[in-house]
Subunit: 217 residues, 2 copies
């Protein structure tokens, strides 16, 4: 909101940026299929034709927005993670970043969860899912590898288990954030703490290497 509504003609780059932002909002709120190019143009108070001068097609517009979202979130995640030393702090940081992101970029968050399981063609969003998973896996495995008390064999077993853990944690966190967004009466700290605790338990169990006996079956 640098300039007020009075502003009409903009330089190319600024307009493009604005359009990307508006498109993010529309895609995030309505979803890809229910968003028309006219919606985006109207929301930007601009004609559809101008929109087409900046983005050659709806798909490319979507891909562009995707790329920006992925870049932004990846940046935030890696910055937060790299700022911490031990992996407990790193996991906590990731969770915090995700809650923050969902809070102050609701359109972007909505964009992500709406299209995460959908696009494989564009590759950008599939990339996000994989990057998130890879980040988790990386954290888990770094922790294991740097532990000198483990034999290589035990380490291999744990890498295997870690890979199975990643989707559990990943799904738990995303679901937790989404749930919290839909329940504004719940305190954020509480939801965040619960997620951290839950994840940490799984991680801790992995670390101790012990295996609970199966209670059933």
């Amino acid at each position: 909101m640098t300039d007020t509504a009075g502003r009409r003609r903009m330089p190319h780059a600024r307009r493009r940026e604005q359009l990307r932002g508006v498109a993010l909002g529309e895609f995030g709120r309505r979803g890809y299929h229910d968003t028309q190019m006219e919606h985006v143009a109207a929301a930007a108070q601009v004609s559809k034709a101008l929109l087409y001068q900046h983005f050659p097609s709806k798909d490319e517009l979507f891909a562009d927005v995707s790329a920006a979202v992925v870049a932004e979130l990846t940046e935030r995640l890696s910055a937060a993670v790299l700022a911490e030393q031990d992996s407990a702090a790193r996991i906590a940081a990731m969770i915090r970043v995700l809650f923050d992101y969902a809070t102050d970029e609701p359109d972007a968050w909505s964009f992500i969860v709406r299209h995460l399981d959908k696009f494989q063609g564009g590759g950008e969003l599939r990339g996000l899912r994989d990057r998130l998973g890879a980040s988790f896996a990386g954290l888990l495995l770094v922790r294991r590898r740097s532990d000198p008390t483990l034999s290589p064999a035990a380490l291999a077993v744990n890498e295997r288990r870690a890979r199975l853990l990643v989707p559990l944690m990943y799904g738990a966190i995303l679901s937790s954030v989404s749930w919290w967004l839909e329940h504004p009466d719940t305190a954020r700290d509480e939801a965040e703490a619960m997620a951290l605790e839950f994840i940490w338990l799984g991680l801790d169990r992995l670390r101790s290497g012990e295996r609970m006996e199966h209670h059933v079956r």
Copy 2:
């Protein structure tokens, strides 16, 4: 597959059933928006017009399929859960049912995960999400309530925590199943055991009522 390909004209009810099944497959594989009524008709080797004699609109067809899927899965879940006594066995049963369902009804599973976060209008799928969540919550709370060693106040605290746990478990399990489906090289037992273990840890922690000190922040 009661009758072979030679069969052409079918009685109304059987045809309707067949069309529902075919539509489930198409919606599951392509998703709502990328599925055209002609696709469904073609897959059923039938004209589009006939399809419209059974279902008045695309939306109603989708709603009908949704209802069937919800009914089926809900039925399986409650049957499995009610067959077990203690809540450990019940959770294990739920997880097993979900893995089973994803295995032998891949189209239905795909249908669910594709549209779970999407439709609020029809209500059927949102209903599924809520029902799953409610089932989990029910299991958690029943366990707590039946524990005579708890004061009402402690119980209330735990109900609160249980509600926060539900989305974590829910997301973890769905994500775990989806991940396993995409990694056929992984043994199912392993994935299932890991999910059970992970969930159980969270539940166990809730049961013990103790609160881990926060490692970070």
